[in-house]
Symmetry: C2
Subunit: 342 residues, 2 copies
C-alpha cells in the first residue's frame, strides 16, 4: 500500500471555474485511497460546491481559504507582488510548508512559474526551472522540455534540462537509462547553432544515456524518451502539435460527415473513430510539470475539463509518490561527482 | 495563352534515380503546353530512358549533359568546389545563363543552397536566401519560411523573409496583401526574445500586412498567409509536422486493421479514408523554394516519387511564369522607398 500523499489544488484559477476542478478532485479521491486533497480557494464559493456533492465530511478532502485569484492575463510580477493571498500562491505555500507534497493550478503559466520560483526556489545546481510534459508518440509517449519557460538557454541550462528529464523519466515512468535527445535541425547545410553544439558536448560527456541530436519527427518516433530544447523551440513545437492534431481531427470529422453516405460510414465506424480519438485525446496528456523547483508544481491547461484536470492530479500524485525533486538532485549530484572523479 | 517557360531539371540527384524524375517531367509536359524541360544529367543514362518513353524527338524536351552527381551526404563546400560539372550545378548554371527560367533538384539541400547562392547570388537588399514551402492549413495552406537555411537570424533577416514570403504569396497564390505573422511563443511569462521583438518592430513599421505574433497552432488556423521564423525554429516545426502527420496516419491504419471487424469497416469506409489521405498527402506539398536568390531554385524532397516530383515541377513553372524574384525586388524597393519617404 502506498503512503498518504497530500496535494494542494488551486480550484479558482482555471477558465471553467471551481466546479470542474472539484469534480475532478472527487474523481481522483475515489480512485486513489492514499490521496488527500486540499482545495484552495474562496471557501464561500468552494464550501457549498463540496457540500452539494455530499462530501463536506470527507476526511481526505480539506479546504484552505484564499481570498484572491490571479487573472489569466495578469502580469507575473503583479501577481507575485500584489496577490499574496491568491489561491495559486496559497497552494504553493502549502508545498513550501510541507503540508502538501505537490500543488496544481490551471492559472496563468507566467504567474505560476514566477510565484513557484520565488516561494520554492530552484533545486541546488539547477539555474532555471523548465516546463515538461509527455507528448503522444508511436509507442507510448515522449517527455519534452522546455515547453516555454525559458526562451534563451545556455548550453548549461540545456544540460540541466537533460538531467531533469532523465530523472523524471526514471522516477515517474520507470524507464531505466532513458534515452535523451537534443532537438536540432535536419538540414544538411547547417547542423545547429553553437549553443546546441556545446550542450551536445556537455550531455555527451555526462553519464546520461545521451543519444545525440534528434529532429522534430523524432518526438513521435519512439527512439528517444526525453527531447531537450530551449523554451522557444519547445513551445513552438508543442503548439504546432496541438494545432495539427486539431486540424486532422477536424478533417476526419469533415470527411465522415460530408454526405449522407459518409455519415452512415461514420456511424458504422464509430468504435474505430472513438478508439482513434482516445489515442489523440489531448486531455489525457494534461498536466505539465514545472521541473527543477524545490517542490512539485503541476500546471493544468487553463481550459481543462474534468477529464483533463483529473489527469493533472494523477501526474501530481505520481510525482509526489516518487519524490521527483529528490531524484533530480540525486541524479545531478551523481553527474557532478562523476565529473570530479574523472 | 501563357508564354513559354523553360525549366532545368536535375534528374540525377534524387534518392530514387533518374527514371522517376523523367516520368514526372513527361507528366508535366503533357499537362502544360507552354512548358519546356531541360533534363540535366549523364546523357548516357538519360537518353535511353527518354527514348524508352518514345519521347526522344519531343521538341519541348531537351537533354543537357553533366558528368557528375552530388552525393546526398556530400559537404556543401566540397560539392561547390569539387563538382563543377554536377547535374545540380549545370542546372543552376542554365538559370544563370537565362536558358532556363527555373531549376529543380532533389539533391542535398546544403549543396543546392551553397551552389545556388554562389552561382546566382542573392537579390539586392536580401542578405540571406530562405527556404519556403506551403504547409497544409484549415482553409488551404500557409506559406512558412525559413525552413532550415539559416539557424541564426537577425531582425533584419526576419524582416526580409517577411517581404519575400509576401511577394511569393501575392505572385504565385494571388493573395493580395497577404497576412504576415511572426512565429513566437505563447507562454504568458515570456513573449519571445529580443530578436523576435525587434523583427516585429521592423515588420510593423513596414507597408506589409503584418498581423503580429503567431503561435505554432496558427500555422494551421487559416488566420495567417505567411509564417516567418528563423531556420532553426522553422525546421523543427516542419519536421514535427511531418512526424505527427505520419504517426496519426499510422494510428488510422492501425485502428482500421485491428480486428477482422474493423478491417471490414476500413474497407467500407475506403472512399472516406482515401479522401482523408489525399488531404494530408505530403507529396502534394513537395517543392520548397530557395527564395531570395537572383533566379528560381526549387528543392524537391530527396525521396520524391513521380507524384511528388511533378508537384515540384508545377511550383517551379508557376514561379517562373510569375517571375517571383522580380516581384520580391519590387516589393522590397517599395518598402524601402516608403521608409525614405517617411
Amino acid at each position: 500500500m502506498k503512503g498518504p500523499v497530500a496535494i494542494a489544488v488551486d480550484v479558482m484559477s482555471g477558465d471553467r471555474g471551481p466546479s470542474v476542478v472539484i469534480d475532478a478532485a472527487l474523481e481522483c479521491l475515489h480512485e486513489a485511497p492514499n490521496l488527500e486533497l486540499i482545495l484552495v480557494g474562496d471557501t464561500e464559493v468552494v464550501e457549498p460546491l463540496v457540500a452539494g456533492h455530499g462530501r463536506a465530511d470527507d476526511k481526505r478532502l480539506r479546504l484552505q481559504h484564499a481570498s484572491e485569484v490571479v487573472g489569466m492575463d495578469e502580469p507575473p510580477q503583479q501577481a507575485l507582488r500584489g496577490k499574496k493571498d491568491s489561491s495559486m500562491r496559497v497552494a504553493i505555500n502549502l508545498v513550501k510548508e510541507g503540508v502538501a507534497q505537490a500543488c496544481i493550478s490551471a492559472g496563468n503559466t507566467g504567474a505560476l512559474m514566477a510565484t513557484a520560483r520565488f516561494v520554492l526556489k530552484t533545486l541546488p545546481g539547477i539555474d532555471r526551472p523548465a516546463i515538461i510534459s509527455p507528448i503522444p508518440a508511436m509507442n507510448g509517449h515522449t517527455l519534452m522540455l522546455d515547453l516555454g519557460a525559458n526562451t534563451d538557454c545556455t548550453p548549461e541550462h540545456l544540460f540541466q534540462f537533460g538531467v531533469m528529464g532523465s530523472a523524471l523519466a526514471t522516477a515517474a515512468y520507470n524507464i531505466e537509462q532513458p534515452a535523451i535527445g537534443l532537438l536540432n535541425v535536419g538540414s544538411e547545410e547547417i547542423k545547429g547553432n553553437d549553443r546546441v553544439k556545446q550542450a551536445a558536448q556537455l550531455l555527451g560527456d555526462s553519464g546520461l544515456n545521451y543519444i545525440g541530436f534528434v529532429e522534430g519527427n523524432d518526438i513521435f518516433s519512439g527512439r528517444v524518451d526525453v527531447v531537450v530544447s530551449d523554451g522557444f523551440v519547445g513551445n513552438v513545437a508543442l503548439k504546432t502539435i496541438e494545432g495539427l492534431a486539431k486540424m486532422i481531427g477536424g478533417y476526419i470529422r469533415q470527411e465522415f460527415t460530408r454526405t449522407s453516405f459518409t455519415k452512415v460510414l461514420g456511424g458504422i465506424s464509430s468504435p474505430v473513430l472513438r478508439a482513434l480519438k482516445r489515442r489523440l485525446d489531448p486531455r489525457l496528456y494534461n498536466g505539465a510539470s514545472l521541473l527543477g523547483l524545490n517542490g512539485i508544481v503541476i500546471k493544468s491547461h487553463g481550459s481543462a475539463d474534468q477529464v483533463s484536470f483529473a489527469n493533472a492530479i494523477r501526474i501530481a500524485t505520481l510525482e509526489a509518490e516518487k519524490q521527483v525533486p529528490k531524484r533530480i538532485t540525486r541524479l545531478l549530484e551523481s553527474q557532478l561527482a562523476k565529473e570530479h572523479h574523472e
